[in-house]
């Protein structure tokens, strides 16, 4: 019996000797980066554990583990339920799905400030409705902020998966006697459950790694998590390396477990499933707005209206222009803005270069395809401060957190964004048109020119998208910044955090707006132009 639908072997990979030459370069670059900035720091951290074994089961550290796990579990469970609803509701509308993707642009510092702006003593709800949130500075507030940030992300993944449910399967089920609800239960659910579950796993890891939100809304000890504890043991009060290493090791256990679960799942279902997992950024066909779409739009709005409050000026607050051009504030925020922009652009360049080299290595050497995906996704299981601590331990001869290091911050921010870059590049990489490259070469084009004319237009958009998103995310990143800052190197999120500590809420609001506008503009522009590359016809 013929097996006509078996996966076709990629016999078209005929780029040959030239590919091997360029491939060796990309593999070397990617491998060197990974070993230097991910493997060696983690090994240095693990080697350091032997000096602090006693700290590992210290009751204060174990209590941090408990608080971190509880916080992340609650945040994940609530985000999962809300996100599932959002995803299903928005699956029909591309415009709503684009909105769900916006949290990429919102820095966690801004999210934390927004919760304060709503529930703080002079916030919107107490001022207008007299509603006080007695638990504003507690783990409950942290969970609330995490749901605000992560539920749209889970919704985005679910909506993407809904768009990939084969219409034919739904129709087949109807002809076999399934009612619409049964089609949803037996067919649609089986297609979206994987995306939902993988979203939950990712959100759990993100909530464990959360830094800015816990730092601002957690209310301090005993509501400290492992990530914050790494920071406080190193840069807050007396230096306690043992406490930091013990916290980092527990943190690794909590964040690597979900990553390993995902890896086990990918391994079980094969690369085919990995490709599906990595391609949630495909958006569904847009239709005319119907009644249920308006309801969905209302639900989505609940997750974005809160951010608008930071733009609204009350009688007692300073206007944004006063903040921008005020004599004192101008001198303070402009240098920080310059530092932030410089960091964001450097991180974005590093992210794109490393992610591209990893992905291209996988294309040119198919045996490395799975490994490059695994290695690029690995930072998704390691928190920024764990990596930062390892970085310091490994390279303490050259890098000192107390003197500040611009390069260390840029590398850390770039590294933690690699899994997202992989998400963007992988679908493009898995559909390289080798037959077109062959056709161009048979017409006399050199290997590089053949790639230039057949592949460049497919990659241009995603490369810009990854660049914009990496820049947007690193603009509001606080963890790496807090570890390696110096008085000459104070980016916007750190300045905002300091101003909040000094009760300069109006000025902190100004930075929130600045961060929100800059990051949103970067991400929105790049997402819109980047994620929908127009297929240019090969003439």
């Amino acid at each position: 019996m013929g097996r006509t639908s078996q996966p076709v072997a990629k016999s078209h990979r005929t780029v040959g000797a030239a590919a091997k030459k360029y491939g060796a370069l990309t593999v070397t670059f990617f491998g060197t980066y990974w070993v230097l900035f991910i493997a060696i720091p983690l090994v240095a951290l693990l080697l350091n554990v032997r000096f602090h074994v006693g700290k590992f089961f210290d009751p204060s550290i174990l209590s941090l583990v408990k608080v971190t796990a509880a916080q992340a579990s609650w945040s994940t469970a609530l985000s999962g339920v809300v996100g599932l609803f959002l995803g299903v509701a928005c699956s029909r509308q591309r415009r709503l799905q684009l909105l769900l993707a916006l949290p990429f642009a919102i820095s966690s510092t801004v999210v934390a400030y927004t919760v304060m702006a709503w529930f703080g003593r002079k916030g919107f709800l107490p001022s207008f409705f007299g509603i006080q949130l007695p638990w504003l500075f507690s783990m409950k507030a942290v969970v609330l902020a995490h749901v605000l940030l992560n539920a749209p992300w889970i919704g985005f993944l679910v909506a993407g998966a809904m768009g990939e449910v084969p219409r034919r399967e739904m129709e087949a089920a109807r002809t076999l006697g399934a009612k619409p609800a049964q089609v949803g239960l037996h067919i649609v659910w089986s297609h979206i459950v994987e995306a939902w579950a993988s979203g939950l796993v990712q959100v759990f890891a993100l909530c464990v790694m959360s830094f800015a939100i816990v730092l601002i809304l957690g209310g301090g000890p005993p509501n400290e998590t492992l990530e914050v504890s790494i920071y406080t043991h190193i840069r807050y009060g007396a230096l306690d390396l043992g406490g930091a290493v013990a916290s980092a090791l527990w943190q690794l256990v909590l964040t690597l477990t979900p990553w390993l679960l995902l890896l086990f799942y990918w391994n079980r279902t094969g690369v085919r499933q990995l490709r599906r997992e990595l391609a949630p950024l495909s958006l569904n066909v847009s239709r005319k707005f119907h009644f249920w779409d308006w309801i969905a739009a209302g639900a989505v709005a609940l997750f974005f209206i809160p951010y608008l409050w930071i733009f609204i000026q009350t009688e007692s607050s300073k206007s944004f222009t006063e903040f921008l051009f005020g004599e004192n504030t101008w001198a303070e925020w402009v240098p920080s803005f310059q530092v932030s922009l410089k960091l964001a652009l450097s991180s974005a360049v590093i992210t794109v270069a490393v992610a591209l080299s990893g992905v291209v290595s996988g294309i040119l050497f198919p045996r490395l395809e799975k490994w490059s995906a695994v290695l690029l996704s690995f930072p998704g299981g390691v928190s920024t401060l764990v990596l930062a601590l390892g970085f310091w331990l490994a390279y303490s001869r050259w890098v000192d957190p107390f003197e500040g290091s611009w390069l260390a911050i840029a590398i850390l921010q770039a590294t933690v964004f690699l899994p997202i870059a992989l998400r963007i590049f992988r679908p493009i990489a898995s559909a390289v048109q080798f037959h077109r490259i062959d056709a161009a070469r048979s017409l006399g084009a050199s290997p590089l020119r053949a790639i230039r004319w057949t592949e460049f237009y497919r990659w241009k958009g995603p490369v810009f998208a990854a660049f914009g998103m990496a820049a947007g995310v690193s603009l509001g990143e606080l963890a790496a910044v807090s570890f390696f800052y110096s008085e000459k190197l104070i980016p916007l999120p750190l300045l905002m955090s300091r101003w909040l500590n000094r009760y300069r809420f109006d000025d902190a609001r100004g930075i929130s707006i600045l961060l929100f506008l800059t990051a949103t503009a970067l991400v929105a522009l790049s997402t819109y132009s980047g994620l929908k590359p127009r297929e240019r016809r090969f003439a």
Binding site: R3, P166, R168, A172, A173, R174, T175, L176, A178
Partner: protein, 221 residues
């Protein structure tokens, strides 16, 4: 004795009007041959309820009962899709027995029934396999079983052999004939291959074209 009667069925599709008038009795296999884009698939989708006709006068009846107002799941029509449309998240036996499950049959009973049918098509040993590892021919046989196992009132087949090679097509035709003997419901099959017509048809539904008020009318009768 159930008979499929299609009367004055009419649907306006982008650049032409589709009309159909024919009858298929129990045990008969009606075959429609036509080029791509002639409206063959649309006709099957109209009969199965996946699309609605444009004309209120249209009638599709099975055993004398007009089913046009019924949703697809209540029409009792087995449909084999062109691209097999097997459920990619289920294994072979769950695919084969889905129609029985939707009719409330218990797991053991439907698994026994599905195993019996899978034996008939030589796939009993692949019952627990996921769909994506099967060959085109194996998938097609499961699609036949899935459409027939729950004994639908009529069976529609949309170019079921189009993705198979020539040798496999011949084997599949024989398999289809055997299965149809097991459950001789009225069968309507569309194809672009005249060999299917010669090998399977007990009757041919012809496609004729005319023009009415400047619009092309394609009539199946």
């Amino acid at each position: 004795m159930k008979t499929l009667k299609v009367q004055k069925l009419r649907k306006e599709i982008a650049d032409f009007v589709l009309e159909a008038d024919f009858e298929v009795r129990e045990g008969e296999r009606a075959v429609i041959v036509g080029r791509s884009g002639s409206g063959k698939t649309s006709l099957l989708r109209l009969i199965s309820g996946l699309e609605t006709p444009s004309d209120a006068q249209s009638s599709v009846s099975i055993g004398g009962v007009n089913i046009l107002s019924l949703p697809p799941e209540k029409r009792n029509i087995g449909y084999v899709f062109q691209d097999d449309a097997l459920f990619s998240t289920m294994n072979v036996i769950d695919n084969a027995s889905f129609g029985l499950r939707m009719r409330g049959m218990g797991r053991k009973q439907r698994n026994d029934e599905a195993t019996h049918w899978l034996k008939l098509v030589g796939l009993a040993d692949r019952a627990r396999d996921p769909i994506h590892i099967l060959s085109g021919g194996e998938k097609q046989r499961i699609a036949f079983v899935r459409a027939l196992i729950w004994k639908p009132d009529i069976v529609l087949l949309d170019e079921p052999f189009s993705s198979l090679d020539v040798q496999l097509r011949a084997a599949m035709r024989t398999q289809l004939l055997d299965l149809h003997k097991m459950h001789p419901a009225p069968m309507v099959m569309v194809t672009h291959d005249r060999e299917d017509l010669a090998a399977l048809a007990t009757q041919e539904i012809r496609l004729s074209e005319s023009t009415l008020e400047g619009k092309s009318v394609r009539r199946f009768s």
